[in-house]
């Protein structure tokens, strides 16, 4: 098995694990972590593409490496925003679950005749 294939499979496994976590776990913090796991997998794939696409005598294709840096910055900001929202939610309600939106739900239920 060639190196790019191995790395590609690792990326795929990470994406799969992350997707599973994002869908299955109800806790927002776990969902945020799962999102980062998928992100890790996708960034690994960028690396694989850079290695495979190496042409013109470079050690690797530089474009995906530039993309990956931007991608990491975006994923980092997304994580920071999500964690900040979650912390604020915890301060307001004392819980860090999305089940705490019971007021919204109750209101929607009440509203139905």
């Amino acid at each position: 098995m060639s190196d790019p294939t191995l790395y590609g499979l690792c990326g795929a496994v990470l994406v799969g694990l992350g997707l599973y976590g994002l869908i299955v776990h109800p806790q927002p913090l776990r969902k945020i972590l799962a999102f980062n796991l998928i992100g890790g997998g996708v960034f690994l794939l960028f690396g694989v593409v850079a290695r495979r696409g190496a042409a013109a005598g470079f050690g690797g294709d530089p474009v995906p490496q530039a993309l990956v840096i931007t991608g990491i910055v975006v994923a980092f900001s997304a994580t920071a925003l999500a964690v900040a929202l979650l912390l604020r939610l915890f301060q307001e309600t004392g819980q860090a679950t999305l089940q705490s939106d019971a007021p919204t739900k109750a209101r929607m239920d009440d509203s139905q005749p």
Partner: protein, 503 residues
Amino acid sequence: MPNSTTAGGFLLVLAIVLPAVGVLLSVALGGRHAERVALILMPVGLTVAVAIAVGVWRTHNVLQYFVGSWDPPLGVVFRADGLSAAMIVTAALLICGIGLFARAQFPSPQEAETRAPLIFWTLLLAVWGALNAVFIGGDLFNLYVALELLTFAAVPLVSLDGRAETLAAALRYLLFALFGSILYLLGTVLLYGAYGTLDIVLLSGRIHAEPVAWAAISLMTAGLLAKAALYPFHLWLPPAHAGAPAPASALLSGLVVKAPFFLVVRLWFDVMPGLADQAAAQMLGILGAAAILFGSVVALRQARLKLLIAYSTVAQIGYLFLMFPLAVRPETGHSWSTAAWTGGVLQAISHAFAKAAMFMAAGLIAEALGHDRLAGLAGIGRALPIAVFAFGIGGLSLMGLPPSGGFVAKAMLLTAAVAEGQWWWALVVLVGGLLAGGYVFLVLARALADSIEPLALLTTISRGRQAVAVALALCAVLLGFLPLRPSALLQIGRPDIAVGGLR
């Protein structure tokens, strides 16, 4: 297509840079000046938007700007075709309307610094810049960054008041959006790996019908659907859009959900023209139809005005996706696809105006009454006649009654569906219109009823704010005077689609 920056290309840079400068200035100067910065930038931004549209119209060609004079695939291109120009003008008009409307709700603090106005005005400009970046982006990765900027600007708008339930709504919105964006990024890396470029024009020349392209486009489409809140990814939308303050709701429902839809259109019609699969397009259509039926029925059962309008957004987003089964051409090709494509885009534009007006009207009603329960609306038609009028004519567009942009859009979708022999979509359009009529009537009947005891209004609502809502609703009506055929502006930069159909 000329392979260099065109004459008006710098306008595209201005469309992104102006709001970005506004954001920086607002943050630097603080909450007391944020409103002024936004109000000064609005007419300037509107002028730039109109100039872009005029430039595209006059030259009958795309405007392009090559950043740093680098050619793709190494460089990044901003490109505005007719569709981008129409969306940029729509966004500029709506942002100006929302800004004028929000002045009373988020006034500059006089003495102590307060947070909400600073954040609202800064994020309004940030959303504007991100939307423009989405509309003119010519590189799929650049579009990913623009889409993320849009999400980061839109999510905090939901929880401006800081209540626990809006925080939860914002967090749920963010989680759905992150799920969508990471799928989009995964598709992007697959496309780059297979074809070595992310520039839309280059990619459209290299892409073939093969598994890696299918996988990439499916992943990207699925991610964008989660961001556009198409059924069954709509769960986050009603609490987020109904919980936000009225100007923010108008922005989110009118414009922000249109950006991912715009990108799906780009992917299906620009990145892989002629390759799109009929079965996949039918799938999108089925999801759209489900959204129309589900959203409308649930809207009918709401007891609060803002939630009703939010569920109606879920339904109206469904109409946007009816264009895919009708406009994606099978190999044989038929002349009706252009009509369906135009209908879908017009639906996006007219819904933006109508829905923003309706959310503004609902916000004014809630402000005056202190609640937005449908059961307590009796007599409001007498107290706030202009706001209720705005709600009513916005509703015309949702129902698809003439004269309104919604009528033109739905008539085109309907005719295309019948002409192509896909009559089931026509049925969905008609039933959706009836259901929309039902929920708009439900509100108007309550609002126009006489109240038993005189209404005690909490505050007086200025006529200016009601007038803004009416002006936006009238924009939706004015779109109804467009001729019932593919628009010439929207076709600019689309050589693959012959102007035909409804003549």
